[in-house]
Subunit: 400 residues, 2 copies
């Protein structure tokens, strides 16, 4: 029994390894670099050709992070560090403003196009900074990332500082996205110094906790700051991919800090969101749901997007690594099968990003404003790392 | 031959009349009024129950316009004027600010939730003001609407006055939406005084003209202010429903002003956009397309939305009224069949708004943030008015 599980994991690891190193990474290595202007193209068609020269900073920063990570953890290929540098130099030259804000999108030559009010662009940039700084052994850069966290915090919880007028009738809502993002930034940037930020971690956990209703086993995307339910579609919104991603972010922190209750909460968030979010009729995770069964107001609610499946892939494997439960392995395999059958493109590499409810490809491109060299390689790499270090000892930070 | 066409039109008119007066208007008359707080609920589920108490001002203003219009043109039912008043009083009390800006959304009790940078909310409010003012014989209100146009103009073409920072790399683009909207506002508010606004009309036409490429028979959603093509997905974007709507707005103005070239341009915009926008495989008009065949970046591009079909319904009938061409009648019938088979809901009334590419209902609600008592009854009423006044003399303003 144990032996056959081990063989199953090996087969799985081999498949993931091939997908990552032969089909996914080469796509970005070949097609994304812009050696003329610097940085990367992220809007790549099915075959890697550029269909839009706009450079979306979320994706540029995440690609820097990804190649820096792989350089540090998978293999010290100089080409990967060169790629990370190509992105980082461009970002520092064009994306970062003197007040610490980072543009959301840039023209091919680096001229700014758009500045978001939300602070996610800054989050991805700071994560890239820390990871690249470590990859090229530049402690000053890592310190710069650490120093940036405080401002990120202030801006994330006080959007008014970046020009959002709060009107009298607008509900006082908090989105799961913010504390889960900040928790991941803390974990990534502080790494083994995370215990130094106990108060910030505690605050993130407290805020995430408010979104989880243990009784109904639901993770709400928006709640009031006191955790009470919001009325209307906003209050009923479920975003299974987000909740699952938050689950494994939390699990990483729980393991790093040796926090057993947090580990259980993390596991539940993944399992509950998967159970509700999976489409029993056509397979795949819904993008959005309404917890009371109304039609979600988002037009794309029933589509199957690549990223929730990437998050689920790793989150279930991680659950299984700690629980040993067969149900977690089964969920992992279900997602894996859906991904390889529907998203993978053996012909040109990378994954498709957007399918309709029935699993048909609706958008042929591999990269867009929100899809780049990130979710697919991150999930594949995290899975591979876990499979190659099996069994993990619970509360063992370095394996995560 | 002529007689059978006349019979066909009568059958059609009877069907549309029944749909409008027995299935569509009663839905809104029954379910939308909020006699407690004033105004209307616009977020109504399939059966008319309220699933969100947010009041979206686009829809409130449009409903005021619609019932005022019907009161003036279809039948002087006091109930319709009462309904229009219920909406208008609420809007004047809660939506309009002292600087002329109008909130995009309000809470149930009227507290402001959100303010858009775009000026469409103001446009719909001003149209409601003019139509309601005429319906209740209040010339001061009509004058107020006329006076508001200038400010609307300035704000529409200079978004920086409402806080939008223009960054260096952002392309200098103009959207078809703006001049077509302003043209319709002019036509609606000025009515038979439209010739007094010759310069403004000329400016709208000039701007709309820039979006139409006669050679490739394409109507672009975005162009540069000089009419040259924009690069990337933005420059390649087609929005068939919009282009078709712009076509009939233009036709109304062309007829009012007796402008033959404009009438031909209007006719072409409808025919070309329909030819490109129709899904030969599954029927219905695509929401978005890329003129060079790339995947549109909008996730909902392949969905079939109610409103482009409403616009197409009337636009083809209008084309046919002036051209007498069988192809226009055929197009009208094709859209009519698609609408009645897919959008209409004989059980609860009103139309569904959102279908997937294959025509399956994806969202069960009848009203939402962008769907209210407007596109369906407007299109049905315009068609009915045209069918009941057949044959129209070309260049005959009052019939439009």
């Amino acid at each position: 029994m144990k032996e056959s599980a081990s063989i199953e994991r090996s087969i799985c690891a081999a498949r993931i390894e091939q997908e990552l190193f032969e089909r996914v990474l080469p796509f970005w290595e070949r097609h994304s670099p812009d050696h003329m202007h610097g940085g990367f193209y992220n809007n790549l068609d099915r075959d890697g050709s550029v269909y839009d020269t706009t450079k979306h900073v979320w994706l540029l920063a995440r690609q820097v992070w990804m190649f820096s990570k792989l350089y540090r953890e998978a293999e010290t290929r100089p080409g990967w560090l060169d790629l990370a540098r190509l992105g980082m130099v461009f970002l520092r030259q064009h994306a970062v403003q003197s007040n610490g804000q980072v543009f959301f999108s840039l023209a091919e030559d680096g001229k700014p196009i758009y500045q978001q009010r939300k602070t996610f662009t800054e989050c991805f940039y700071v994560m890239a900074l820390a990871e690249y700084g470590r990859a090229c052994d530049n402690p000053a850069m890592v310190q710069e990332a650490k120093d940036a966290i405080e401002l990120l915090w202030i801006r994330s919880y006080d959007w008014s500082t970046v020009g959002r007028p709060a009107l009298e009738g607008s509900p006082d809502a908090q989105a799961l996205a913010v504390p889960m993002m900040l928790l991941n930034v803390l974990d990534e940037v502080m790494a083994d110094e995370l215990p130094l930020c106990a108060a910030e971690v505690e605050d993130c956990i407290r805020r995430i906790r408010l979104h989880v209703d243990d009784e109904s086993e639901v993770v709400f995307e928006h709640v009031r700051p006191d955790g009470s339910r919001l009325p209307g579609p906003m209050g009923r919104l479920l975003n299974p991919g987000h909740a699952i991603e938050a689950g494994w972010f939390l699990q990483h922190v729980a393991q790093r800090l040796g926090h057993q209750n947090m580990a259980q909460l993390a596991m539940n968030m993944v399992r509950w969101s998967y159970r509700r979010g999976w489409d029993d009729e056509h397979g795949g995770l819904f993008y959005f749901q309404d917890c009371e069964g109304y039609s979600p107001v988002q037009l794309e609610w029933s589509m199957k997007l690549w990223w929730p499946h990437c998050e689920a892939l790793y989150a279930h494997l991680l659950n299984h690594a700690f629980s040993g439960a067969h149900a977690d392995w089964k969920a992992f395999k279900e997602v894996e099968q859906y991904c390889f059958e529907n998203f993978s493109d053996p012909e040109y590499g990378e994954w498709y990003g957007y399918l309709d409810r029935e699993g048909r490809i609706t958008h042929r491109f591999k990269g867009g404003a929100y899809k780049g060299c990130f979710h697919v390689p991150r999930a594949l790499w995290l899975c591979l790392r876990l499979l190659n270090n099996w069994p993990v000892a619970a509360v063992h930070a370095d394996a995560l």
